[in-house]
């Protein structure tokens, strides 16, 4: 027994004097992230009231999130008003890349943290106006684990899976892929060179985690498959404009009814 590690503490409580203090057990049963979820709900209400569709882009580092955004902005900036929140542990390089394309971008540098949370997004929203913005992309920190647990207020989760990664990623990272509304297999121009990534097998693994997410194959650099991605964006944007919200319910386990009701 010592005075350092707690091994001397008796069941009567931390007083160490042998007296038993009365205790009370409080039943709570709420999410460990319920504060984050409350801020995310406020963010989502703000997005809905402004009519902005918000998409959370997640992937491993280097899967091509920023390159996909650059290609998307180049193709759609005369058709849709786009803005971007960039999340990175350090540097403002990605926001600078996006601004160079002529759309507003705010950088969140997390100072080493491995994910964005709802409060960081709330803070970033103070730095620019969403007035008239059709689509806000939030580029999350490159990481296939932590970002999946934090609701930001987005309407849809989009996960990129580069063909330079294994096609078994959905089985290895079930939490991330289960939370995804759309999975983009990226860098497909490299499929022929690599030879060991099978998109059909990736889809088998994706369905294995009970996901109904649409899976599309794209290459931002070579302009392959981008038409289907742009159509997905246009359809979601049209739904948003028509009904006033993004109809996202898959993320964070909400039922379609609960989401439509705004809960």
């Amino acid at each position: 027994m010592c005075n350092d590690c707690g091994c001397g503490i008796t069941a009567t409580g931390p007083l160490g004097n042998g007296e038993s203090a009365p205790t009370e057990t409080v039943r709570v049963m709420q999410s460990l992230l319920h504060r984050n979820d409350a801020i995310a709900a406020r963010n989502r209400a703000q997005f809905n009231s402004g009519g902005t569709l918000v998409l959370n882009l997640m992937s491993s580092p280097g899967a091509g999130k920023t390159a996909l955004l650059e290609a998307t902005i180049d193709a759609l900036k005369d058709e849709l008003r786009i803005a971007v929140i960039e999340g990175d542990p350090e540097t403002t390089r990605d926001a600078e890349r996006i601004r160079a394309r002529g759309v507003p971008a705010v950088q969140i540098t997390t100072g080493g943290a491995c994910h964005l949370d709802a409060r960081m997004v709330q803070g970033a929203l103070k730095d620019f106006s969403l007035d008239g913005i059709d689509i806000l992309f939030i580029e999350n920190v490159g990481n296939l684990i932590c970002p999946a647990s934090f609701d930001l207020g987005q309407h849809f989760n989009i996960t990129l899976l580069a063909v330079t990664e294994g096609d078994d990623k959905p089985a290895k990272y079930p939490v991330m892929f289960r939370a995804s509304d759309l999975v983009l297999v990226t860098k497909v121009d490299l499929l022929a060179v690599l030879g060991d990534f099978d998109p059909a097998q990736a889809e088998v693994f994706l369905r294995g985690v009970a996901s109904h997410a649409t899976m599309l194959q794209v290459s931002a650099r070579k302009g392959l498959g981008l038409g289907a991605w742009f159509d997905w964006l246009r359809n979601r944007r049209a739904t948003m404009a028509k009904v006033g919200h993004g109809f996202s319910y898959r993320a964070h386990g909400k039922s379609p009814q609960a989401f439509v009701a705004g809960n």
Binding site: H115, V175, G208, G253
Partner: protein
């Protein structure tokens, strides 16, 4: 390692509950964590004392109830325990299932040490 952020939120919530009840300290904190929550219970247990140091919950035991993954088959209706990376029905193999358990990350209860009653 988002478990530090989760622990910080957990500590704040536990301290809020303790303060609201006028408790002197926290004896134990009980969680329910499933493998599909994205939270690693071992990392959480490591981060917890760091987050709680110097607060009313710094001597509180952290009790983590690990919840297994369970699905209900959308076809045959059977309940089965399955692995996180393969959520198909354990009975008939149908891939269309609904998660019944295993995605929880809940603060289930807090045991508080109350002020000593005057005798």
């Amino acid at each position: 390692m988002h478990e530090i952020s989760v622990c910080t939120a957990l500590r704040d919530e536990v301290l809020r509950i303790a303060a609201a009840r006028g408790a002197r300290a926290v004896k134990s904190v009980h969680l329910r964590i499933g493998p599909l929550s994205g939270i690693d219970a071992q990392a959480l247990a490591l981060a917890y004392p760091i987050a709680c140091e110097g607060t009313a919950c710094d001597r509180a035991a952290l009790v983590i109830d690990a919840v297994p993954v369970q699905v209900r088959c959308n076809a045959c209706g059977a309940l089965s325990g399955v692995q996180p990376q393969s959520l198909a029905c354990g009975k008939c193999g149908n891939p269309e299932t609904t998660i019944i358990g295993g995605d929880e990350m809940l603060l289930s209860s807090v045991e508080l040490i109350l002020e000593q009653a005057d005798v």
